[in-house]
Amino acid sequence: MKEILEKLQLKDVNVGACAGPDDWYEDPAGEEIVSYNPTTGEPIARVLQATEKSYEQVLKLAVEGFKTWRMMPAPKRGLIVRDLGEALRVKKEPLGDLVTLEMGKIRAEGHGEVQEMIDICDFAIGLSRQLYGLSMHSERPAHRMYEQWHPLGAIGVITAFNFPVAVWAWNAVIAAACGDTTVWKPSSDTPLTAIAIQHIANEVMADHGLKGIFNTTIGRGAIIGERMINDQRLPLISFTGSTKMGRRVAEAVARRFGKTILELGGNNAIIVAEDSDLDMAVRSILFGAVGTAGQRCTSTRRIITHKSIAPDLSKRIVKAYKQVTIGDPIEEGTLMGPLVTKGAVEDMMAALERAKEQGGEVLFGGSRLPDLGEQFVEPTIVKMPRQTEIVHNETFAPILYLMEYEDIEEAIRLHNEVPQGLSSAVFTTNLLTAEKFLSHEGSDCGIANVNIGTSGAEIGGAFGGEKETGGGRESGSDAWKGYMRRQTNTINWSRELPLAQGIKFGD
């Protein structure tokens, strides 16, 4: 562990506010938090949290930094992002290990998350030459009309524990290519990965004589989070977290007419049709429901199976669950690590009690695994008689609810009945079923897949969901537009002054 920390320049006590290579702001008034290893319960290192004072120092440099950064041609910004990607390649191993150490996801997933950061850097390099606006034919003679995209400013990025590094990259790297600076408030459960990234970004920025581009303020939501969402200097807040917190963020930011990108709760389902390839379905269900110990926004939480194959599918899923190796996530061969906090374990157990009260039958799991550690649980399968209240709620844990349907219309109705709308999938070999699921009378989610599961999105597509998932889009496709402001320009190159709609005014 010590070696990992040293490679990432982490100390026993780290400062939680930074705006550049020589701009770490240490305020002794800040409260210390301890980052614990969820596998062992042992402390990894401590962080001196940001205060109002150090937040102000960071914000000042982020706003100043924007004035320089926005004037650098976008393709040149892309070259600096390329350097960041290279630096991440060099640090991939220790950074991926730190993700595992601090958050508890298995090593392959921790390293995969850093790879996602590298991928998004590669994407952003190309993007920096493709920040296109449209041009339109003007209805007025000798006029030219077009639109262009300008950077927004310093942007607030608030992320959750479950993807402690990739979600930062989705936001900060795209924002950087767009000409924005970012101020990051990571989860208080994963502050060390944030500091490690800040060190990496600082080294790259130092090579270019820059500061204030990538900034971090680690602190409580009630202090730093609230300060950010109410800060007029942050024109955009990108928030990843729960629907309940997202509502609070949206209301606060809207009050000051700021913009938001909201990436909120999911309650993702897979419909398994009677004609599906069950081997493929089971493998996808296992990865979707058990991967990251069920703590992904896109984790599979509901299975809606055609009643003719439901008994067979249940047996196959239970058999697959029995083969899941649970243990230290850093060890090769482990498929499921611990939950992130003791509170998360309590939340899961309480949800299971409610599921049973509502008629649920536990087919597999349902227990804590104290021999492995306080935060280890069994991945759990619960057969539900119907889609009850607990199934409508997202529990951030490896609980999988099984339900049955008679026809595809009922399956889609059940699928869309929950308030969330992030990710979805159907397993079928019937073209009509697949197309119906993808059509406007099909899945109401932002992500809809055929014959692959709900989780494990690529960076090239826009990531996000509808309804209580918040409607935000991050990462690929044209999600970059959320980090810029659109300006429509009309240029009159005649010596006349014709008005639109043919209006005559004082002629």
Binding site: S242, K244, T341, E346
Partner: protein
């Protein structure tokens, strides 16, 4: 007995210091962890949002549970 928590206790503190409180509250239909992250408000604010008629009674029961 000195009460461990009050209406003014931030949820972020509660979850860190008394994780078992999460289960107690969830079993009573009050979820203070969402998506694995604690809410940013105090317990009192959460109970008010959840329209709990007698918030102090819930706090008393929670303190009793934590003893």
């Amino acid at each position: 007995m000195v009460p461990k928590v009050s209406l003014e206790t931030p949820i972020e503190d509660l979850v860190q210091k008394f994780p078992e409180a999460v289960g107690f509250l969830t079993r009573n239909g009050i979820r203070c962890i969402r998506c694995g992250e604690p809410l940013w408000c105090t317990i009192g604010e959460l109970l008010e949002e959840e329209k709990i008629l007698d918030p102090q009674k819930t706090i008393d029961e929670l303190n009793e549970f934590l003893e």
